[in-house]
Symmetry: C2
Subunit: 340 residues, 2 copies
Amino acid sequence: VKIALFLAGYGHVARRFAQLLHESEGALAALGIEPVVVAALSRRRGAAFDPDGLDLGAFERRPQTATNDPAAVARILDDMRPFPVRVLVETTTLNIESGEPAISHVRAALAAGADVITANKGPVAFAYRALADEAARAGRSFLFEGAVMDGVPIFGLVRDTLPAVTVTGFRGVVNSTTNYILTAMEQGEAYDTALARMQQAGVAEADPSLDVDGWDAAAKTAALANVLLDANTTPLALPREGIGPSTAARAVQARARGRRLKLVASGTGHGASADLRVALEELAADDPLAILDGQANALELQTWPLGRIVITQRDGGLEKTAYALVADLVTLARNRSMDR
Amino acid sequence: VKIALFLAGYGHVARRFAQLLHESEGALAALGIEPVVVAALSRRRGAAFDPDGLDLGAFERRPQTATNDPAAVARILDDMRPFPVRVLVETTTLNIESGEPAISHVRAALAAGADVITANKGPVAFAYRALADEAARAGRSFLFEGAVMDGVPIFGLVRDTLPAVTVTGFRGVVNSTTNYILTAMEQGEAYDTALARMQQAGVAEADPSLDVDGWDAAAKTAALANVLLDANTTPLALPREGIGPSTAARAVQARARGRRLKLVASGTGHGASADLRVALEELAADDPLAILDGQANALELQTWPLGRIVITQRDGGLEKTAYALVADLVTLARNRSMDR
């Protein structure tokens, strides 16, 4: 089936996704999926639509001008109506206080009868229950595999491979920047030096507060809690700890005791009473979360009847997040074929 | 949909599976699945069939007599023909030199138009390609999630959540008995003492050769290689190492160097040229396979484009294997509904 894609947000992840669609062309064709990017929207490059398939090279070469056309998303969704299968690929920059503009984009797409795939944490962290309901009413998919642990299929694992399993809790190391800095500080590096090195390497952002203040981990905790524990919460509602210069001494002391200091995202319980937090925890050396260095992430699920299952992503990188969008694309095509 | 089940093999796993069906009744009903055990076959209790649902309590109270009626499986499959959805639940004891009698049971079921779910390693380790082809021709499911890593959905993970991913290799700690004994020996216990203790605790069999000689790990390696790497091999064709009294010194020395000695099942490459083995390997302390104690199992998948993904089962137990059969039951119901 031909699937018309609208890339809302055109940063590193969206570009790598477009590339990965080409690299995976054969595998997708074998699954009956023929994706075509027909529209894109970028903060700096404006909006573009071409029903015959957008020339992304030309789009990238556009002069960068700060444009902000609030009507652009609705207009593009309207332009796309002739396509029977339309998909919003949401990868805009997240406002951590509101989850916008992604939430509005998702809502507009579902209302227009399009499916939604996103690597953005905002919609699932701030508005999961409402958007899932809207998707169900519209008979469309709302998928967000890339929101947590990049390409590792954590939501797909529970949804597709663990039927009749009850998830009673989770704990994970889900933010790479803080994990890098904690590892460096254990080895004696000062916080500022480690952070500066991470920024030079492109691992940490110029403004690292989203990572080091624990906001990114809190958004992922809210996302996991909303989907797995039906918590209906937001990142703003969680107890949240970050890392800073004073964390160095704790990291060194833990290591000296044969333990590791990690920023752990966790949740137990169910619904509104679920106990959720992002906190520094000292872990035993053989804890599956303790052995993670650098970009590695891991999540432990506490379940009935399978007990504790851990899934670990040992290698990081942009193409992992981009892959999550490819996996979502296949899932939505499967959902569509089941509805037929 | 009402699903008629035939339990071929009635040991611990089959009994726990029957119990788990009751415990999961609500969750299965929500998925539209209504399982009914209508037949059972046991080496010591013979065969039983009741179209209204078998009384398993009465079956268990039967006098134990060594019966071996080679025509029983065919007769029961014939008796079950009035049911539109019939499933063979294969959990007989494996002959490690042939994969029988499970392979014959699977073949008979597919030929009779039944679906097959099994926790038995034999069929997938010895005859995967042939049986998968027979299942495809019959339009039926051949599922075996419990063959490797108990309830952790390793085959489901790749099949359902990693579309368009290429698996280029794997390595895992997949046998609990050898892992228990290696851990005990690291701490100074002698091989014979550790083995005897495991036998008393019910972890190791009275005849432990399947485990300690590496046969169980070899069967799982063949199963993984056949499904993930298209190797079309058998456990007999693999280089295979086990553990014994002389392994103790190596385990202690590795630990003294801050490393861990583990029995590792591994495979890389593709098809007939895939490089497969079961071997003792000394691992770095922060290797996800090195941290496993006792019943914990883990498998690392090497993939494109996701890099290395590890899935770890921290808790063991019979109900984990039984759950794999429940997951297979849901998968076959999904396959059936997609075919409609």
